[in-house]
Amino acid sequence: MTLREQLREKISAAFYRHGLLCASYPVPIILFTSASILTCCYPLLRLPLPGTGPVEFTTGVRDYSVPSHEPQGDLGERPDWYRGPPVAYIQQVLVKAAVSPWDSSLVTVDVFRSPLGRAFSLLEEIRNHVHSDSLETLCLQVTDLFPGLRRMQSVLPEHGCLLVSPGLHTSATLRDLLFGVPGKYTGVSHYNKKKVVTYTMTLVLSRYDARFLGSLRARLKQLHPSANCSLRDDHMVHVHFKEEIGIAELIPLVTTYIILFAYIYFSTRKIDMVKSKWGLALAAVVTVLSSLLMSVGLCTLFGLTPTLNGGEIFPYLVVVIGLENVLVLTKSVVSTPVDLEVKLRIAQGLSNESWSIMKNMATELCIILIGYFTLVPAIQEFCLFAVVGLVSDFFLQMFFFTTVLSIDIRRMELADLNRRLPAEAGLPPPKPGPLRTREAPPPPRPSPHTITLQTPAFRNLRLPKRLRVVYFLARTRLAQRIIMVGTVIWIGILVYTDPAGIRTYLAAQVSDQSPLGDPGGGGLPPHLGVAPVFRGGDPTSTLGINPAPAPTPIPDNQSQGHHGSSRVGPLPEAPPPSVPQITWGAEDEEGWRRLSFRHWPSLFSYYNITLAKRYISILPVIPVTVHLSPQEAIETRHPQDTKHPPPSIPKVAADIQTDLTLYKVAALGLAAGVLLVLLLFCLYRVLCPRNYGQNGVTHGRRRRGDLPCDDYGYSPPVSEISPLLLRGHSMDIECLASDGMLLASCCLAGQIRVWDAQTGDCLTVIPNHGLRRSSSSGCWEQRDGWESVSGAAETECLGSEAHGSSISGDGLSEGEGYPLRRRTAPSRPTLFTDQPDLTPLIDTNFADQPPSHLCTPPREGFDFGGLVERAYMEHEPPSPSAYPSPSSASSSPPSGAQLQRRPSLGDSSAFLTQDRASTAGTQATADWESSVWAMELRGNLIAAGRSSGKLELWDAVEGSLRCINEDGVSGITALAFLNNRIVAARLNGSLDFFTVEINKPLGLLQYRGAPGRGSMPPSPCYSSEDVISCQLTRSVQCAHQKPITVLRAAAGRVVAGSQDHTVRVYRLEDSCCLFTLQGHSGGITAIYIDQTMVLASGGQDGAICLWDVLTGSRVSHVYGHRGDVTSLVCTTSCVISSGLDDLICIWDRSTGIKLYSIQQEVGCGASLGVISESLLVTGGQGCVSFWDLNFGDLLQTVYLGQSSDGQGVRQLLVLDNAAIICDFGSELSLVYVPSVLEKLD
């Protein structure tokens, strides 16, 4: 065990040092690695390139002798396949025939009918040629055709010499084979202007007899002399064919490759939290591939030639070597603390995973070594490659990939640095002094409508050119696109060059289109397709090994007659040239080259002879020129030729006809192109992440500031996962508001605290006990003692340890240091002093309380009896005998209506009774008696709506009350604060629109930040000198029939949802009601609206509606929850809702289909927030969880405190800097978005 530990330590230390090395000298190491890869791959150059194309070798004819089987030392550049006799010698007789002189009386069929007819006499000549041997002894004797080719029996010889010559009745593919010339060169077509027919007769010989062939050549030349023919006849070409891969073998191969790609895709998808996902994925793939190449190269270097089919075993090798280590490395490095130096991070990450990497490697090596002892040569070779590949892969991982990773991490830190820079640079110099005044505007935040641009110099400073290029590449996804296009092109090339692939098919198609193959379309009489050339001749005999019946040149009278009648018919063409020119050129020399390279293999395969890994020798062609007289042409005419004269097509039309094939090919190409584009598109869709369109990009960039470099779909880690606890509130936090920079919270005790959302410092405390700045004296006054006593009481009743020890309970005065003086206010009746203040016990947050309890009768609500009893008991001692309990009936029965924890919104009257009238009469006096029901924070102003109906504006930094409006009496249930307008929803269903006016001493309105492009002015800036007034501009008295439960404002709209099942949309400027949206069958409980005018509402019926704000129409309507919908958030692609059933459902925004749902812990269903397009955060019991929105994977859970079984997270607020405020009991938690990567292995 100790040995193991020691080993482990040592390995870890070694990896640590290695990581330091790699991260310190990235460039030299990458250069070194590349050099070693190239060195190891150098031997690969000597290996033949894979491919199935045939290879040629040319020798002279004169000194030709059959090569021996033994390898003969060094014979120049003689290829190693050129050993032993060939499979066959191919002797082609190239015939060019024409009817000459051309007679205008001839029909077009005559161009090729009689010339082809001459093939038979030539065939006879060849067949009967005897020198010393007859042809029968020399030629390749074939037997049966391959079974399944019965239909070719009629045209291909069987049981005898393989001698192929053309006939008329041929299908397209066979025609090339028989003619021995590509279709378009044959001239067998109606529109052959040259009127010369070209074809070959192919003689396949098994032995080479120079004398026989020479005499045959001489004989044919003598019979049919070719004038001006200067074909060279001194070279014979040996063609070697590779092994072919048929479709049947291709399918498994393709399958393995598909699996391989899927494996690579699923593996590299896991790379996360790095600067360039694709870059690292590419590096990972390069690592594996080059390790394989190195392995092959090294094996070759040491004399082992690969015999396995490389393409076949390659996927398996990749899978065996695997990408796992690379991923493990990445994860390990990424999950190291970000505040470390890059070097140290790499080193730590490496050393953390060193043991498992070594262990895995050892295991794999063992397994492969076991495989080596199977003693099966193929498996041994595979194992050898795998071992060398594994070792070189390890080497590359350690040097290449680690270095690339370090570069990537460094880049990410640079980007992080860049992003933070403007925030700090934009800050004014911090003012000295403990009181952090916020007179200066907060640093400009990139809001969607105000985009602050840095000065060009600053931008240049921030982004070096090199980085900008990289960012550009990253932003435009250039690399991805190039890779994708490359892949598609590669696939296309593969398909095209595949022997059985598109090319031959296309060629076949083209030749099919030509008139001969298409008798109907081409205008050839249909009977020609099957009719023998010679009347009465048997179609099977035309090409058979048995000599065809001698051509009967005797003209048929009938045909003559018909011919005569045809003469009067219109002739399709203008008088042709009298003598068709037969010319011989260099292109005729090796006419077989123009044939498909599958020509010979397919010919031989018909007789079950394979040419794979063998060669044939092609002898120089014998040119034959045949001139026929018109008379002969007419004599060989078929009787039906003239019966069906070809349709008289005008010349232009004929041209069009000819071109039609071209058009068809073009159309085919076009279709292929479209298909390719579609394929590309599909690939793009498949490979690219969702929401990767314009919307997502702008959104992402908006959130992450103005750096162009950071629009990947994730947020880089900002710090370790350490929730920042904001303590200070004595009771449960009820309201939370934030504008990104500041955070205001209000607890049940009525205390408002303002925090710095970046650092978590408490900036201001606005206590609720009569501390106010008197306008006259400026000293702190204390409220009446009633409240302080009750404050103490409530502190105790919540479990404070000091039972009666000190009246000045620490709960409220904590951290403030203000002296508390007890003063009995004469205005207050003493009757009330003996009653504990139960106000803080009343939870009045209507928006966030699950209102389903409304349905339950009030009696069965929460039992607060015990709590209240305790409060009473502890309150008793100060005046034990004064009031036995005279007011118990009126004010606090243990389960009275007032003490309902979740009071019904409907019975507001009972609720309002406890809003005691404020005794303070001055204008700038806060109303301490009523509790804060709603709070909003914009700029430096906190707007607080109280249960007494008062609206207060506080300065968030100074903690002073700036303005109060007492126009309404009904409690404010919800507030919306946008620009300089405040909208307050009251319990009685009315909506009040307030305007905040800032009267500067100079009379200027100063706006924060530069004026943006957006339509909306940014929030105004207030300074302490300004006089802020809050005027009620309009009050919509009966905005709703029932209490308004939700109020949201964005994009110049105010949306109010009410218990009366409707949602109303108001315009902010003129408080005009635009729409009343009906569609819910229950009270509205949640509303979401954002700058893009997306409006979603959820109700007590569990339904979620999406609305079009511009038209007021309902876009979609889904039922998602068993109880109320408690909160709603939309992203660009989906809608996230949570309900009383503690489910969080994610819906597709466009289709309204539920993608998936997440089960939450009981009571935590309502708290959720979206950090980025793909990151969802939800609250749980004492923790928050991060989810991947795209797949619904739980990424990480962050516990907020030591006691994880604490209270549930009730509210969750996502700030702009991607921090989260959780309402966690009486504490707030500031959780920066952690690195959301967890190690799976």
Partner: protein
């Protein structure tokens, strides 16, 4: 293609929440099974390991029409059975639950088939032993659960028996049987196939796990 279907199965796992997923999972597994059966059969037919009657050989992919559906059904059953047994035994499978691992498993499975069809071994015992070792290695690398092993062995035995019966009744035959009527490596292949399909099925079920929860909650 398999890659696409696997990808779709990921997508399907997400989308398929709306309609209950068992059918979709079954269909996916079925198609994967059919596809693999076609491809692997092609490998075997190429090497003339199995012989089908001549009239069937001309049919699609030169394999009898009933083979792919049978394999598909079997793989669907296996793929659904594995997660089911896991949940019944109460030991959820936690080992390497990633798609990349599943793909690796499939690749190794195809590789084993490839080896059985293409590599020339000295004798059948060697071939069978090698393949058995490979299959067990496959289980150890990608599964490592006792239930997986047990199910794999039992299904492999059953399938071997069924094949024996089929060959005995002359439905098809092996060119060189060395284990009664069949090849002795057949159980190994079956075992590896069961492990592979179980792996896929478990992964599919994993995607569904969260969604099923909600269903039970609602009912």
């Amino acid at each position: 293609s398999l890659g696409l279907s696997i990808y779709l199965s990921v997508q399907g796992g997400v989308v398929g929440v709306v309609t209950t997923n068992l059918l979709i999972r079954g269909a996916l597994l079925f198609s994967v099974g059919v596809f693999l059966a076609l491809v692997l059969n092609l490998l075997q037919v190429q090497r003339n390991v199995t012989l089908f009657p001549p009239d069937v050989i001309s049919s699609i992919f030169s394999s009898a029409w009933w083979v792919p559906p049978c394999c598909g059904t079997a793989s669907a059953m296996i793929g659904l059975l594995y997660p089911c047994i896991d949940s019944h035994l109460g030991e959820p499978h936690k080992f390497k639950r990633e798609w990349s691992s599943v793909m690796r498993c499939v690749a190794v499975f195809v590789g084993i088939n490839h080896a059985s069809a293409k590599v020339d071994f000295a004798n059948n015992v060697q071939l069978s032993l090698t393949l058995a070792a490979l299959s067990v290695g496959l289980w150890w690398t990608f599964d490592r659960s006792r239930s997986g092993f047990g199910l794999g062995v039992s299904i492999a035995l059953l399938a071997t028996l069924a094949t024996q019966l089929l060959v005995y009744n002359g439905v098809f035959q092996y060119t060189s049987p060395d284990f009664l009527y069949i090849r002795s490596w057949l159980p190994c292949i079956f075992f590896a196939g069961v492990i592979t399909m179980g792996n896929i099925g478990r992964q599919l079920a994993l995607y569904e796990y969260k969604f099923i929860q909600e269903k039970t909650h609602q009912d």
